[in-house]
Amino acid sequence: MEFLLEILTEEMPASHVKTALEQLDEKFRGELKDAAIAVQALEALGTCRRLIVRADTAAGQEDRTSIVTGPPKSLGILPDGTFSPAARGFAKAQGIAAESLEIIQTPKGEYMGIRKVSKGESALEIFAAIVPSILASISFPKTMRWRESPFKFSRPIKNILCLFDGKILPFSLEGMDSNDSTSGHPIYSPQPLRVKNFQDYRDQLKKSKVIIDPGERREMILGQIEERLASLKARIYPDDDLLDRLNFSVEYPCVILGVFPEKYLSLPIEVLATAMREGQKLFSVVKDKKQLPCFLGVADAVKDSKSLIRNGNERVLKARLEDARFFWQQDVKKSLAERAAGLKNIVFQEKLGTYDDKSQRLKKIVSYLIEKIDAAKVKKEAIEAAGLCKADLLTEMVKEFPSLQGKMGGLYAKVEGHPAAVYQAIYEHYQPASLEDDPPSSLTGALVSLADKIDSIVGVVGVGIQVSGSSDPFGLRRNAHGVAKIILDKKLRLSFPRLIDKVLSIYGDRLSVPAGEVKTFCLDFFAGRLRFIFERQGHRYDHINAALGRGMEDIYDTSLRVKAVASLGTSPNFEPFILMARRINNILKDMPACKVNPELFLEKEERDLHSTFTIISDNIKPMIEKGDFARAQSIIFKIQPLLNAFFDKVLVMAEDKKVRQNRLGLLQAIQKLLLQVADYSRVVVEGDKTAKPGISR
């Protein structure tokens, strides 16, 4: 049977509509399943003014049969075939005659009993109960009150339509009664409509200039975009977020093509696109990778027959572009270096000082990084970029369009004639801005971005700002992901704990939290973030544990270790090898360090093991240094048969103390050898029943 719900509201933000529709879909499915109502179809549709749920469900719950048993048959029926007092008593308690009792087979034998059929609840009753509670439980990013009631919603609710099987499904939400009416587009067709069913609802609304299906609206928008651009042979600069936002901000889409004066094409494409997209939610139009002096907008209108919508948008955009051009002309009058002097007036964080202080630190961190990764040939450029990268915070353009920070600095640096390594670094130094965003493409950009992020992380942790659950005011997680992404992308090999030490020493006494605590926190925090990144890459949590378990000295190395361990995962010899590593660990637990003296070996097996160990150690040394852990690991693997033979034939815990300590010493050396790649004992093997997946957050 058909269920239809429409919450008519004042205009909700696009993001609110999207999340509400997802929640409605999920909650209705969940509640109906819990209530045992079969669902043939269910969809959540909507516009900026409507949240709609349509479902086809069973008429009600299926009838349920339950069995109630009384005394066993042997006690219920007397030898003469009549009912015993026990059976009669049971029947009476159940409200039936004893003659109606049945003999029921149970695992414990035959019992006297009855089958009770309980009538299922109707879907109508169930909907009436769940709809108000589902509506009250929708969560929005921000809510409001609008009447004398504490009830909150995204925006004021105007009406609730709810039908089941063609009739009003009556319920009340905060004093509003459900009914069978709605209204069309508030400007084109505001009069009330009475609705019979979903088909009727959809058709009437369509006539009243409301397209309720987001998919259908999207197709309309894309179709009209294609039509408008056909003669230009151009296309829109793809922007799915914008398309989505526009789709959920209209009820009847009408695509408008407009133009702006060509003189504004001299503005950088970043500025043009931002002014159009962020300022006015317009698509920019490109042809052969070049910006055309045109835009496309999506109006909530039937058509623009008098071109008033087009002209209006053109006027507003022109004013914005004129402002942008003015900002550009003002900004280039002053060099970034001159501007950077003003950074001492802008606070980065109260206890961490100004952006000038930050710039000075960035120069030092970049200089350290260059030394460690042996990149002296970009030293001058990278340090210059570090000193200039924040200067664009003082430009008019960035004040107007904050999302252009970094990019504007890069563009202005280019105009000033700085070399590519400098302007690219400035341009890219906020990248990656999210998990999906690309890291900087230039090495100098990578170094400045890395320095900026690690400076923020150490500083913010160092003044005691906490990251917890949903609260991450300074974007530490995002910054940590950025650091890891850059290091992995550029394959930068450097000691991470030393880098933290360096940043701590540059901060000096600015930080209130003791340096040791900051460092421990940062290392744990990064380990957690790396775990998250590796898991996203599809690695097994226990392989990650193995790689991280031997300490995170170098982030890039750690990623190679994870890959090396993963590459062995399918080998049949892997599991015995892991078990062997654990056996060594168990034997050596709480043992003091022992020395090996080859002259004290008594058995052939221990001598063989030792000589193989020595050869392997020598062989893998250059591989470990180069980070070729996969190859090193395959060589280490070769020790396995000798270890087997050793454990078979040699008693480690020998009576003679010297012999015993010598053997323990050999095992300790092998333990260290294995740890050069990973802590294999942390890999989970068949039979580790109690193992729990690592928690990645």
Partner: protein, 282 residues
Amino acid sequence: MALQDLILKLHAYWADQGCYLAPTYDLEVGAGTMTPDTFFRVLGKKPWKTAYVQPARRPTDGRYGENPHRVQKHFQYQVIMKPAPADIQKIYLQSLSSLGIVLQDHDLRFDEDDWESPTIGAWGVGWQVLLDGLEISQFTYFQQAGGIELQPVPVEITYGLERLEMFLERKDDIYDLDWSKNVTYRDLRCTEEKEFSEYNFNAADPAMLRASFQACEKEAVSLIGKGLLLPAYDMCLKCSHFFNLLDARGVVSVTERVKMIARIRAQVNEIAQRFTASGRGS
């Protein structure tokens, strides 16, 4: 239709809706919201409907009379309805129709834009109203003012008079607007914009402004102690204006900015608390 006709039409429309047409408040404010006709009247239970023209001063927006869209003083048409009528959106749309705008020919959008004024401890949820992409109004359901949860919920509609007039006259330059048949916006305001831009950005004496800020703040505290809440609030408005001037002079750092706003808000919240506690809003 000249700008003064626009004002007259809005007055006629909102007077019909039962609004009391308040005279313009005689102190510098950054927005119509800050005047006592809004600030005190949204507190408490007593229903209230008012509409008025209020000049809004934003010293940092000065452009020496040279920018066709930005001015350091503009005019707002402010409407407060408390409680918010259930069909207030419709009432608002009709106000546009009463100006001769045929909405079916345009694209009218209620675009998410939540409003906040940290200085007077106020925030609300609502929209900027866009007409063919041009912001012509702010539409806000007040949730809080002076740090107090508002019950019933008032609605505030603020028309940007110059924006709306530019739309109606289809003009690209604010100074080309007709204020009346014989007087243009340029005649009235261009020199004022030039001189005030010079004052805001260069001539204003920061030491005098800081001293004035402190003196008014001190006076506000003392007046609150004496229970003179309306004069105390005037002092807070003066503080806010002195702060805006200091900001335009570029002598306020980010941290200082936050602190100065918090100082004003502390007094304003105190005034709102005492105002409601004494039952004056009900």
